[in-house]
Point group: C4
């Protein structure tokens, strides 16, 4: 079992890097244009993009989204991602820690993140199926302590569960179990869909159980339907391959999901992951109501293909673009960006 879990993690990384695993839908950011402002009275160097992540001060509203852990490759990747987070002073997540629950010797593939990112918020990660199956208080503490996490994300992806031969598409009693999980957790809990977005209806079901953050994980970026389809193709699982292909455009696009979730949770931490590719995309996500924009696959790809320095350049670019977007819309800080004129 642990072998399966860990090798699958490597599969995900390699496929994400080598194939086009994006959703067949777009995140819908193209429907939004900022209005350029020519007559400015500020200096680019005055633009302030610092933000607060669940009470922790960070230097940009960008999250390195959790991707991996559990294998040697994953450890090396996590170490690099952590260095980036530390360098840019931005929050970072780890991939699902399930493997480390099953085999505690794998904990070091995750703890490497905290070691290399001592000064930024780190987000633990566990899957919906584990929560639905029940995680003990001791296990939650173990997950959090492993990386001295500031928050823990429960990732949900019912479509992926359906498409994995080893998937467990059984979520009976999930919301109640999630409520218990929240009560047991020593740190704030974030609900994180990965690639198909949260709708208004789904968000409503989360009200009143004490979660502190939502990552909309919208459609338009990395698609696990596409990834699982490629894995099924490789293993000759024809049926799952075809079903995956049918659902490759499924989900609520990120831009739409931000609007729907913000309506339900006006005050909670809202992270927008899924198809954020540039600082202009990030600015659009923030303009629509997100507090942070999360990025996963592009960073992984730069890292894998060009090493730490290229991944660093990429993040530098995103952050510069975000600053320039604030500048050119006449916004001095993130608060002003939220009311910058746009065209839809």
């Amino acid at each position: 079992m642990e072998f399966r879990t860990t090798s699958r993690k490597d599969n995900h990384i390699v496929l994400s890097v080598k194939e086009d695993v994006s959703s067949r839908t777009s995140p819908w950011f193209e429907y939004l244009r900022f209005v350029h402002q020519s007559i400015l009275e500020t200096s680019l160097s005055d633009v302030d993009i610092s933000a607060s992540f669940l009470g922790h001060a960070v230097e940009a509203p960008i999250v390195i989204s959790g991707m991996t852990g559990g294998t040697d490759l994953a450890k090396a990747i996590n170490e690099s991602l952590a260095r980036l987070a530390q360098k840019f002073k931005i929050p970072i997540g780890v991939g699902s820690q399930r493997a480390a629950l099953e085999d505690r010797s794998l904990a070091r593939t995750f703890s490497v993140v905290r070691e290399n990112a001592p000064d930024v918020p780190v987000i633990a990660n566990i899957g919906q199926s584990q929560v639905a199956a029940g995680v003990s208080r001791e296990e939650i503490l173990y997950l959090v302590e492993m990386i001295q996490a500031d928050a823990i994300a429960v990732h949900i992806n019912p479509l992926q569960e359906v498409l994995q031969p080893e998937g467990e598409p059984d979520f009976r009693d999930f919301v109640r179990k999630l409520g218990e999980f929240v009560k047991e957790s020593p740190v704030p809990v974030i609900i994180k869909q990965t690639g198909e977005g949260l709708s208004r209806e789904s968000a409503s079901k989360l009200r009143g159980i004490g979660i502190e953050g939502i990552d909309v994980g919208g459609a338009g970026g990395t698609s696990f339907a596409v990834i699982e389809g490629l894995r099924s193709r490789f293993y000759g699982r024809d049926l799952l391959e075809k079903v995956a292909s049918t659902f490759a455009d499924w989900g609520v696009p990120t831009a739409a999901s931000i609007l729907e979730v913000r309506e339900i949770f006006p005050d909670k931490l809202l992270i927008a992951t899924g198809g954020i590719r540039s600082g202009v995309d990030a600015a659009k996500a923030l303009r629509l109501g997100a507090d942070f924009a999360g990025i996963a696959r592009p960073i992984l790809k730069e890292l894998y293909e060009g090493g730490l320095s290229r991944a660093e350049k990429y993040l530098e670019q995103v952050i510069k673009e975000l600053r320039v977007t604030l500048f050119l819309t006449g916004s001095s800080n993130l608060n002003e960006l939220r009311s910058a004129p746009i065209v839809i």
Copy 2:
């Protein structure tokens, strides 16, 4: 005459399999998106897609649409299709039984369906021209008994009649004749357009004459204009080839036709055939108001190219996709699917 009828049947099969005979319009399902639901509290295995076909319980709201009969090839195909219907416990139709009326020795090419599908609804089939020309009570009984049919479909396709050199585009008195046909029929009668859809106006003309079901047979899937165009090309009938090409996008797209017909017949059995290619398409047809989604050509193609096992895999895929669509929209059964949130 019987030779013409039977060889034409084989033409249709071979062309449908080897050429792209789809309408130049789409079924318009792309204008509809389901809203993904992340926060589920059910299990995929609890999703119930069983349905009732004119009082007969079946395991999925999918119909294997009538395609053939009358030749040896047709017999072999019908036998396989029947096994599929029996396996999945879903209704099945036969192709036009006109040939068997003309030459009763051909009855076995149709009866093979009932022999191999003893436990599911089987739908007899006869053309509008025959009904317009008058079918005797004895003939109707013969058609029904041949396959112990649970219903009989009268297929209509005025465009095809126009495009066949052997066509009979003369429908004077058709509605009255259809009324008589309904009265004589020992089983429920279904009106079935094949590929150009039923409009609101046409559906209205069917009110009050006792039909029990409508198959909208919308534009966007197999197009007999395209098929007849290819036949005309082959036989050098230039005029008909060109006219066929002009009308290759003619008709009411399936999605539109479902809405129009459901408005006129709120309570009758409504089958949506024409361009259903996946379980998501089928779910969309049901969401718009259909009771069943019918599929013809894709099954034929899988069967012809990959044998029974591949056709079986295809149907398995469609049914799985339909189940997954219910699951991911938070619908436990077909009734709940009918009010699942959608985006247009």
Copy 3:
């Protein structure tokens, strides 16, 4: 001068046949779809498409639009076109008769039309520039008698005048001169734009001066901007070539022009020429308010490339498609077609 006029005529013919001289805009017929009717109670053979052209009974609402005259090639073409008109019992126009005014020996290149089409309406043709320059009563009679015309078309194309080096873009006093022309003409006068359409405003200026018909000559079919552009290219007239290319999408598309002109002239003969390619296009033009649909270039092309028999097949096809469109919309005649349901 006469040499220039006649050789230009041959240029036009050859370019129209060998190059793609269609407007860079479409006639907008694609925005209109007829609603297919499945439940019919008529026979195709009962569909009646006979029409009346300024009081003359004809067998279809199709006009062979005036194209040529003045050269030997033109004479041969006119003879064939006339035979087609006579065969299908439909109206036919001749090309501009200006050349025959300048050199009366060229009259036979036009009169060949009446000789070969004794039983159908024949339309004489003269340009706006001649009318603006003043045509004497004697000249008008000469034009009409040359072909025993039932009507005379005054073609207008200010854009073409601009683009021809020999053009005369001077229309001062045109409307008054046209009024005089109408008074002098022994037969009804038709105003005919060729390829850029008549707008509501332009149509309004024609009110009250006694014209009996309008050919909207909309954008979307043969474009004289494109034709003149090709001629300028050939002769190295760079400036005119470029200007022509800028205006290659200029004009009111045929479908729009029909609606605008019908609003101003609810009762006059309205011919829709420009981009009619099939009987379905013709039906759409009639549905929008035209009395006749005119076709020019496609007939010329079939004739040039495939001789009389292929041009005949083409017209047969258009007429068949028109009949089928009436049939499949449940219209028994052109009057009923005018209220057939459509989707925009």
Copy 4:
């Protein structure tokens, strides 16, 4: 420093001529169509397109937009452009005169314009950064006298400042400084954005400080994001290259910018530059509210590739197309064009 400034000028010219440096957005002129008028009562030769530029009579509402100066190549180009302006009797601008402020020996690369265009309005040019940094009264007089300017344009392009390594994206106190500049200037001041357009909000900030003209410089034509991106690529400045590419479609398209600025400044001189390619584009800009249409890169390209004679032909073409547009919309002069019917 002066070296950097002048060589950069040559870079801009060469890149503009050899690469596709247009914005990845369009100027949105394609959303507007003029309505063709067939029934005209004027002559093309009567169409009057003369205009007034800040009180100076000119023969067409076309401006040769300021592009260059400061190098030998620039001097040669400026000389040719000036001859064109003189020939067509239209206003002409020079490129940024900053280099000549830094090194007065470069003045002759600008003064060549006035020498060759004695009878038309000439527009001086200085950048926003210089104004923000403060330009003395003596310097302003120097700029104006250098070319005996009739007006002076202050060009603004915060995006370009961001994308140039040598850029100065610091505009604190700019509006106040601009106000002082206006007071000191002996000639009217024009604010000129170059390629990203002026929005309603930015235009509002300019109210009440005494500027006499606005050049909207909208997105859809030459893009300095694209040009600077190419320069960064050449010099291996990866980060700036990528940021430039992200912003290559940034800005308010010219057509939109005209509407927004005209709303704020109903009576000031409004020049529309950015993506004007033909006389029809120019006519559309005027129809939307501009007084003049400015053209830069196409003239430069014709000049560079085909010499003075080809550039002259191009301007002849644009002016002819503008005249023809007036003619075919039934407008005798620019005033009538402003209420010509259009379709959006």
